[in-house]
């Protein structure tokens, strides 16, 4: 279609080969019209036009007589006309075609040629200002260049010696680079979005020229090229290069007002030139204030989804956050451009995109009021609950299911002392599994309440969770995080399917829960023996191991049984950090950064524990310490130091020895200097509940029996425990030892039973004196219970694993 227009004529005009109508009457197309008042003749209106010959543009001015044509609409952008009477003059070094007479050949026409780069001419007069801004551009680096958002000087024909700052396209972008000091990521063009004939709308995109990247730099170097290199007729989809600049070293400086080229989110990368994306906001975060070592500030982010399913997060800081926070509404479509692309922060950003957008003052966010059905409301990647079991903890997933039960909100105290809300529910799906979903914070009251009322009314609503985190405690569970979203009864195909399945069979189908019931303690009591700590290398893995042992305190270090602690309250908890003595009677806490007159005394007991398998050192702190010692640390401190009552002190200490408790230990390997050592801390101390203890042991025996018929190892000790526990603690200790003592010293001959071997030492069958468990020098003096028992013949345990074939 270029044949209609006189191709190449503009170049000739520029080259002075065509000066006026006498040489030629070119047929040109008007791409833009602008009304302005000339500075020289303020009373008159003049119309400026942008003329195209299919490949190049030139500015033109209509004679006043021609104004009515425009006013009547005969002459409009797109019109094709023949210049019957014109002259070409140079104003401020720019070539302008002053048209006195013309004939409109076609009023309405599509823009011909493929370099139509909509230069939006804003109604800005004042080329000077514009020019100066350009000046700035030339000098400054990209970032400031970006500031020139809307001061463009389409009209300014003034001094364009500057480098083209405008630039639609990477051409200008690269011009920056080359001339200037912009960095590559700048292809920051001075884009003027959303003004004038905004091509932002859908379907109004004009073709843009894409110079091939390689040619651009080249072209820079020959300003004589004057015009744009030949643009390829179609732009390659993969490289969304903005079109190269129209003018090279001359021509009006204008902002690049080309219609934004909308690219898919998935094509965004830090090296994209000027880009625009059109997407829907799927989630909007809160405006948060933060404080980190580098300073404080405000931040707010939102997630976008576009027609191709690409998702990306957009973050704004400080002033920019304020600017856009009110503008962004979830569910609306926006056109966003001129943001910075940077690698995504995986810690906070769980979207499937390597990058995230950061907006600044130069960025633009423009709402699209037209709906676009191509862009979905939200995108999910649902996993079935059965899959969750095999997923890694802390992975982020989407899940959908039917709520089978929901519990009321509970208030939980966080470590920092603040309170937060928590609510859990059970979610079932077609995989036949159910999982516990925990909601935190505001979700409890919002969606939580909604779900509760639905459940109370007998319904089983469908819940979709987006960006939930897989957590692990007693099995797997899902919990919400800051950026999670909950959708009750969502309008999705999956929801529909779930509902149907539920009605059909799911309601009654047994569902195996992958999250075991959350017991109060949260931890299953893992019974171990002390030797197992070493044998099984407990504590050496990443996480500490929590175990329970039934053991006796053999020894307690007396030297440092306490430390001076900070009594100040940090929220709800005491600081408890060690305070240093200032010397003058006050104590200083590093953490609270305060001095206190009176410090708190807290236990730090080093205890040696022993059970029938081994010995170990553990440390007990305040709570456990008080239980063991029977008095607060402060009191004990006073006894020792203030009252200097050595005797009483020793008495107390002695009493502690050989007391048996159930200890809940946290075992973890820590590195001191170069050496890693496994340390155990007492988390809780309980008195031995013989009844339940016995049962535990009986269970263990049972397990062992089924595992290995006839093994006597653990069984033996088990038995010993059983009997000793049974007999020992009931009744009075004195009696018992008497009984036992008597029994054993009796050297009674075995009677009844085959009694193949009878021991001379203790009189019991099953072993000989050499193997007699009663010999203290035997393996690991197993002191059990209060008072040593004369090894009443019940254990072969002294000799571990003594297996006697016959009884």
């Amino acid at each position: 279609m270029g044949e209609i227009l006189t191709a190449g004529v503009i170049e000739m005009i520029r080259n002075d080969r065509v000066k006026n109508h006498e040489q030629m009457k070119p047929v040109l197309q008007v791409t833009e019209l602008k009304l302005f008042t000339a500075q020289q003749e303020p009373s008159k209106e003049r119309i400026r036009v942008l003329l195209s010959d299919g490949t190049a543009f030139i500015q033109g001015m209509l004679g006043v007589a021609l104004n009515p044509l425009v006013k009547d609409g005969v002459l409009q952008p797109g019109s094709i006309l023949r210049l019957d009477h014109f002259v070409c003059s140079e104003i401020q070094k720019k070539k302008i075609v002053v048209i006195a007479q013309l004939e409109v050949i076609t009023t309405k026409s599509d823009i011909i040629g493929d370099h139509a780069r909509g230069r939006k001419a804003t109604e800005q007069h004042g080329g000077d200002s514009g020019n100066t801004s350009y000046e700035q551009h030339g000098r400054t680096d990209v970032s400031s260049a970006r500031q020139i958002n809307s001061t463009e000087t389409g009209t300014s024909l003034v001094g364009q010696q500057r480098r083209q700052v405008f630039g639609s396209g990477s051409g200008s972008g690269s011009s920056f680079e080359q001339h200037g000091r912009s960095d590559l990521s700048g292809g920051r063009q001075i884009n003027n979005n959303g003004t004038g004939t905004s091509h932002a709308g859908i379907g109004q995109q004009r073709q843009q020229v894409y110079g091939s990247g390689s040619s651009l730099p080249g072209s820079y170097n020959n300003p004589s090229a004057g015009l744009v290199r030949d643009p390829p007729p179609t732009y390659p989809l993969q490289r969304h290069q903005p079109p190269p600049p129209m003018y090279q070293n001359r021509g009006p400086v204008a902002r690049n007002e080309a219609p934004p080229r909308i690219i898919p989110i998935n094509a965004l990368n830090p090296y994209s030139g000027r880009w625009t994306i059109k997407a829907r906001v799927t989630s909007k975060g809160d405006l948060r204030t933060y404080n980190n070592p580098r300073g404080g500030g405000k931040v707010f982010s939102f997630d976008l989804l576009d027609a191709d399913g690409g998702e990306i997060r957009v973050t704004c800081f400080n002033a920019v956050a304020d600017q856009f926070f009110d503008q962004i509404v979830v569910g609306n479509l926006y056109l966003i451009s001129r943001g910075n692309l940077r690698p995504a922060q995986r810690k906070f950003n769980h979207l499937p995109n390597d990058y995230e957008i950061s907006l600044d003052n130069a960025s633009t966010v423009q709402q699209c009021h037209e709906e676009d059905a191509a862009i979905p409301q939200n995108q999910y990647n649902f996993r079935s609950i059965g899959d969750i079991e095999s997923m890694e903890t802390n992975s982020i997933i989407d899940v959908i299911g039917v709520v089978s039960s929901i519990s009321p909100t509970a208030s939980i105290m966080k470590k920092t002392g603040t309170e937060t809300q928590k609510r859990s529910l059970q979610l079932k799906d077609m995989s036949g599994r159910s999982v516990e979903v925990t909601m935190w914070g505001s979700f409890c009251n919002a969606e939580g309440q909604k779900l509760q009322s639905l459940c109370d009314s007998g319904e089983f609503p469908v819940l979709a969770v987006k960006a939930g985190r897989v957590s692990e405690f007693n099995g797997k569970a899902v919990s919400t995080i800051g950026s999670s979203q909950l959708f009750v009864e969502p309008d999705l195909a999956e929801a529909q399917k779930l509902k149907e399945w539920f009605v059909r069979e799911g309601r009654s189908a047994p569902c195996i829960s992958i999250s075991r019931e959350f017991t109060g303690g949260g931890r299953v009591d893992v019974r171990k023996t002390i030797s197992q700590i070493k044998d099984e290398k407990l504590g050496t893995s990443e996480k500490p191991d929590w175990i329970t042992v039934n053991a006796t305190i053999i020894y307690m270090k007396v030297d440092n049984f306490y430390y001076t602690a900070c009594p100040l309250m940090n929220g709800d908890r005491q600081c408890n950090k060690k305070v240093t003595d200032n010397g003058d009677g006050t104590w200083r806490c590093e953490k609270c950064d305060k001095c206190v007159d009176e410090c708190d005394y807290r236990y730090i007991l080093q205890l040696q524990l022993q059970d029938h398998t081994g010995l170990t050192w553990v440390t007990a702190f305040q709570e456990a310490g008080e239980e063991i010692m029977g008095m607060p640390a402060k009191d004990l401190y006073y006894v020792k130091h203030e009252h200097n009552d050595e005797e009483k002190f020793e008495d107390i200490i002695r009493k502690v020895a050989f007391t048996k408790y159930i200890f809940k230990l946290k075992v973890k390997e820590e590195t001191y200097g170069d050496e890693p050592t496994v340390k155990a801390t007492v988390v809780k101390v309980d008195k031995v509940n013989y009844s339940s203890d016995t049962r535990t042991i009986l269970d263990a025996m049972e397990k062992l029996r089924t595992a290995e018929a006839g093994s006597s190892g653990v069984g033996t000790s088990g038995t010993r425990d059983v009997s000793s526990v049974e007999r020992r603690e009931f009744g009075l200790p004195a009696n018992q030892s008497d009984q036992y003592g008597n029994q054993s010293s009796n050297g009674a001959r075995p009677h009844g039973g085959g009694g193949a071997m009878s021991c001379d030492v203790c009189g019991n069958t099953g072993h000989v004196s050499a193997n007699c468990p009663n010999t203290r020098s035997g393996p690991q003096g197993q002191y059990m219970g209060g008072g040593s028992y004369g090894g009443s013949g019940s254990y072969g345990g002294g000799l571990p694993r003594q297996h006697v074939g016959s009884y």
């Binding site: 013989y690 009844s691 016995t694 049962r695 009986l698 025996m701 069984g715 033996t716 038995t719 010993r720 059983v722 009997s723 049974e726 009931f730 009744g731 009696n735 008497d738 009984q739 008597n742 029994q743 009796n746 009674a748 075995p750 009677h751 009844g752 039973g753 009189g763 019991n764 069958t765 099953g766 013949g793 019940s794 254990y795 072969g796 006697v804 016959s806 009884y807």
Partner: protein, 108 residues
């Protein structure tokens, strides 16, 4: 306390093995007569204990009795020990079973 002869741990059903021999068991008092106490063994069999208990036995306390087993459900008690009210009969029962079965070699 006469400890010249060791006593085997028994419950109701094991007593028959030791008739005439010294046994020990724990019973839960059900009732008492003059000269004897009726109790329930840890495996829910009735045991009659002859002799006089040291203290008035209230029903549902546990007593350990050591004595000679006269027949499969009565003992002539020599030693009585009050085990109180909180006693786990199940555990004791298991003990008796183990002591007479799998781990007899560890006991008498």
């Amino acid at each position: 306390m006469d400890t010249s002869s060791p006593s085997a741990f028994v419950n109701g059903s094991l007593m028959r093995r030791y008739i005439g021999q010294k046994v020990r068991t724990v019973i839960q008092v059900v009732g008492s007569d003059v000269g004897s106490v009726v109790g329930k063994s840890t495996d829910d069999l009735q045991i009659i204990v002859k002799g006089s208990p040291p203290t008035t036995t209230t029903p549902s306390t546990y007593l350990e009795v050591i004595g000679i087993a006269e027949n499969e459900n009565s003992i002539r008690a020599e030693v009585w020990t009050n085990f109180g009210n909180s006693f786990d009969p199940v555990n004791y029962n298991e003990l008796c079973k183990l002591a007479n079965g799998e781990f007899k070699h560890l006991f008498i």
